[in-house]
Symmetry: C2
Subunit: 125 residues, 2 copies
DNA sequence: TTACTAACGCAACACTGTTGCATTTACAAA
DNA sequence: TTTGTAAATGCAACAGTGTTGCGTTAGTAA
């Protein structure tokens, strides 16, 4: 019987991401943990949390990978919302209510969307 | 007088990207060049071509950076179109005609957009 | 408490991208 | 055509990010 385990690292990392109002990068998480666990462990915990549907992965316009909690995922698990990336404070936030519309050419089969806007967030503007 | 120079590397790389119907990554370009020039040179040429407005940089949903020619940029230089990323053949194409619409919350100032859709391209579907 | 194995730490590695510096070379001016 | 300048290059070294293998630790079911 393969059963997942709740370890200290997993609990702390999950808490950190879910309670944060902005998406966090691996290095930001590592700094917060202050040597609580190894870098590799953080990668593996993040991987597990994504598989469990607790968090989701965001690739920012600048290529920086961030992780954010899944808030509305219990209702419907889709990440087809817009992400906003602030060019000043570098924060990435999920705008879960905003859903874009567009017309696609035929013959394209769409299974995933990734929409990121950049500019200034309410705090920085 | 600071004047740009047309070198072999620049000419070949520019040709490669502009004539390609899909966006190319640094490593794909490097393979095509077959040792014509150094990796670093490719990075620097790409940087220059972006500054000159000949090509533009795309960060795919999986974080892979690709480069594509600017076709309609002579008319209006905006990259607010959708990019399509095929999950099968890994190709990235610019859908320059598709412009998405959406409603943003107040207080956000938008200066850049990055929309990428994933799925199957016409060739793979 | 014990046994099983998920999860961990550590070392090593691959890939991507950047920087400094000496050398080469494109191109404008003589 | 030749020459001088600095744009562009090659090489070495480095930093950041992410992955893999393997021996050890520790969570949890029995």
């Amino acid at each position: 019987m393969k059963s997942p385990r709740n370890t200290t690292a997993k609990t702390v990392i999950q808490d950190l991401i879910v309670t944060s109002n902005v998406a966090l990068s691996h290095s930001e998480i590592q700094k917060s943990l202050e040597g609580l666990c190894d870098r590799v462990t953080i990668y593996r915990v993040l991987e597990r949390l994504i598989k469990e549907g607790v968090i989701h992965k965001i690739v920012n316009v600048d290529g920086v990978v961030k992780y954010a909690g899944c808030h509305s995922c219990s209702v419907k698990h889709s990440h087809n919302h817009i992400h906003f990336s602030c060019q000043k404070c570098k924060s990435v936030t999920c705008l879960e209510d905003v859903e874009p519309t567009f017309k696609m050419p035929k013959k394209y089969i769409i299974s995933e969307m990734n929409f990121t806007l950049s500019g200034l967030c309410p705090q920085c503007s």
